[in-house]
């Protein structure tokens, strides 16, 4: 139940559980990656690595965010770039509680906007973030293969 959840800063001891949970969701076990994420986002100013645990201290989810500043003219804003919820705990408001805790953390740094970026076909996460009130923002993600042929006549 959501009211039995504790949302707190991640500790190094949580990384094994985060790795396992991510592996259950994505099918990829990336322990070194999560250890590095903890080093970069779990212990630094304006960076937040939060976890949700239940009464039995079992990991139910994790969320990572930070403040990013002045990217292509954007004033500092919060970014959420990782979220995972134990599939067995979905629909228990774990994601919503972590999202609220993250926006509280970001808001305390002085930013008033939170952003994220997702794959277009990631319907689960897209629907989650929209259910929290997020909408399409003023930025558009663009990409191209670096090895691909550049278009002729570029003026930039």
């Amino acid at each position: 139940m959501a009211e039995d959840l504790t949302i707190r800063n991640a500790k190094i001891d949580d990384i094994d559980d985060v790795t396992e949970l991510d592996a259950r969701i994505t099918g990829l076990k990336k322990h070194a990656y999560w250890k590095d994420m903890y080093a970069r986002y779990g212990q630094r100013d304006k960076r937040f690595f939060l976890v949700a645990t239940d009464q039995d201290h079992k990991l139910n989810g994790y969320i990572i965010g930070e403040v990013r500043a002045w990217e292509f003219g954007s004033p500092p804003s919060g970014w959420i770039f990782a979220i995972g919820v134990d599939p067995d705990c979905r629909l228990n408001k774990v994601g919503s509680r972590m999202f609220d805790a993250m926006t509280d953390c970001l808001s305390k740094t002085g930013v008033d906007t939170v952003r994220t970026m997702l794959a277009r076909d990631d319907e689960l996460n897209m629907a989650f973030f929209r259910s929290q009130g997020m909408m399409g923002g003023p930025f558009i993600q663009l990409e191209m293969p670096i090895s691909g042929q550049r278009m002729q006549g570029s003026h930039v």
Partner: protein, 143 residues
């Protein structure tokens, strides 16, 4: 993006019913509220019932009730019943597709379609109703 009249009628009807899935509302009441043709709406409601999104109620009062799960049903599921909209349209051959310019234009229009489709697929009825409530709170006088 401009939706066809039938699509807008369907969205109004489903979202009106989703505000309280236990209630039953007549086509006339919905048509009156949104100032749309009751005959047009009645036809749209029959299509929605055939798709399993609403249920026609028999007996005193009649009307319709929501059958879909508002937390699981997206705007896309309703829109695609009435619009020629989706991946099928992207694969349909059009004049000039064989040309270099036609192919480059197709890439651009497909990009626009893909963004629109993913937007519609990610917004559930519940999410849209939350936004309705949020907008109402922001209105002057509701501070």
């Amino acid at each position: 993006m401009r939706l066809q009249k039938a699509t807008r009628c369907a969205l109004f009807a489903v979202l009106e019913l989703a505000q309280d899935p236990e209630q039953q509302i007549t086509a006339a009441d919905i048509a009156d509220k949104y100032q749309i043709s009751v005959n047009h709406l009645a036809k749209v409601l029959r299509d929605l019932a055939r798709a399993g999104l609403v249920t026609p109620m028999r007996g005193a009062g009649g009307g319709y009730r929501l059958q879909a799960n508002p937390k699981r049903t997206t705007l896309f599921e309703i829109i695609q019943l009435f619009e020629d909209f989706g991946h099928d349209i992207q694969n349909r051959a059009e004049d000039g597709d064989h040309s270099d310019i036609g192919q480059a234009l197709k890439q651009v229009t497909n990009e626009i379609d893909n963004i629109a489709i993913s937007t519609m697929k990610s917004i559930t009825l519940s999410t849209l109703l939350k936004r309705v409530a949020m907008n109402a709170e922001k209105k002057p006088g509701n501070l």
